[in-house]
Symmetry: C2
Subunit: 226 residues, 2 copies
DNA sequence: CCATTGTGGCTTGTATGCAAAAATATCCTC
DNA sequence: GAGGATATTTTTGCATACAAGCCACAATGG
């Protein structure tokens, strides 16, 4: 009606859920950029709803740190300083390292073969230089590792922080040779996993994530961004 | 100026903020037990407000995982399975381990002396067997470590997960000799920090947290709790 | 010319009203 | 008396209404 965000119209998805998901997605993908003001009435009109569900969605986003509410002064997309972004990347790197260590020790043969399959398929994507596909693959790869920890809570946390970093990761991955390096780093991680050496997998994963962060920092500094 | 009733800074606390904080506190302290239904109208009456701010508070709590909303079927305090609790403890243990490793390498002399001061003061508390004081101390001790990582985001995450585990930790610490052991484990961690060995501090912290978790598991199993 | 302050519009925060879905009670059939 | 369909009540989800605070801007005074 008002907006083209129809989707599959999940059975009975609540309105405020739809709004929250849509906004979270737009923030994560950078469609709504940091610092942008989120006018309640405006959003309500856009989603063809009233302010009530919009407000509820915004509160949830605030609890997740995606937006910032200033009492009686409106809601804005969380504006992150470069320092905070680096803090988040460092935390993410540590969490990913933790995940791959646990996953190495706990994954089932099925999970292992699924991961190998994913990794193998990424070679073609890199050859084509298809950034969007690599983005999708990369997400699946890391989420497969989270899952293999057999720790549902940890997996949720890892996904949450990954989502919050997605906007930045997106910009960063568009650099040609980073894509190649990314896969090479995955390769090294896979090898450690194959050898059952969780500690090494962990160290390599941390390095992998910090490399990505460093690439991002250069990007930020070059673009006077944030 | 005219009235000394409440805090000057928080004069304008929003209603839904007050409600959210109050509920979060009651859930964390176990005053509201897991699975309890949270009736909107009832809460509204209790806080002398309407359902609107109550609903916003509940959405925020949901985003933080403290309550569970079942579409059109009301909100309940998050009921956690023993598996999930153990998952959370494991995650917390890893995060704490990560924190103390970073803190060891990054803490300033001032932060280090503050931590030593805290730890020293805890001896008297243990001797008295004062559980409540130890609870307070313990929180301060761990938060000092979070802070010393000089990673604000990580510190926030650590505090958040700690808060979510508080309800369970509370029950668990009431065991006599666990208090003694807790301090001894702190002592070992402090030693590793003093030697600047972040890896060892990290391992000891992980063990410390997992010991607490194990003590809790025994408690859970003994009490058919959750 | 700049600072101050008051006013009007606009946005947020809260209350209330209404419709629809669950939950519960009621009644009918067997 | 049991089981199930149906009516009633309760509660959630959303919309609308209203009050109060913020902000921009202009008018005023220094």
């Amino acid at each position: 009606m008002t907006d083209g965000l129809d989707g599959p119209a999940e059975d009975r998805e609540l309105l405020f859920d739809r709004i929250r998901n849509a906004l979270a997605d737009e923030i994560a993908t950078g469609k709504l950029e940091a610092g942008a003001a989120l006018d309640e009435q405006q959003l309500a009109d856009r989603f063809g709803a009233s302010r009530t569900p919009v407000r509820e969605a915004l509160r949830q986003l605030a609890a997740n740190g995606l937006v910032e509410v200033r009492a009686r002064r409106g809601v804005v997309v969380a504006r992150m300083t470069p320092e905070r972004i680096m803090d988040m990347f460092e935390t993410a790197a540590e969490i990913e390292a933790m995940c791959v260590r646990l996953a190495t020790y706990r994954m089932t043969p099925l999970e292992r073969s699924h991961l190998i399959e994913l990794h193998d398929a990424s070679e073609a994507i890199v050859k084509k230089g298809d950034f969007d596909s690599y983005d999708t693959f990369n997400r699946a790869f890391h989420e497969a590792i989270y899952h293999a920890t057999h720790n549902g809570f940890l997996a949720e946390q890892a996904i949450a922080i990954r989502n919050r970093l997605m906007a930045f990761r997106r910009a960063q991955l568009r650099q040609e040779e980073r894509l190649d390096r990314s896969r090479a780093e995955h390769e090294a991680i896979m090898q450690a996993i194959a050898e059952g050496d969780g500690e090494m997998a962990s160290r390599r994963m941390r390095a992998h994530m910090l490399n990505a962060a460093t690439a991002l920092r250069r990007f930020i500094e070059a673009n006077k961004f944030g």
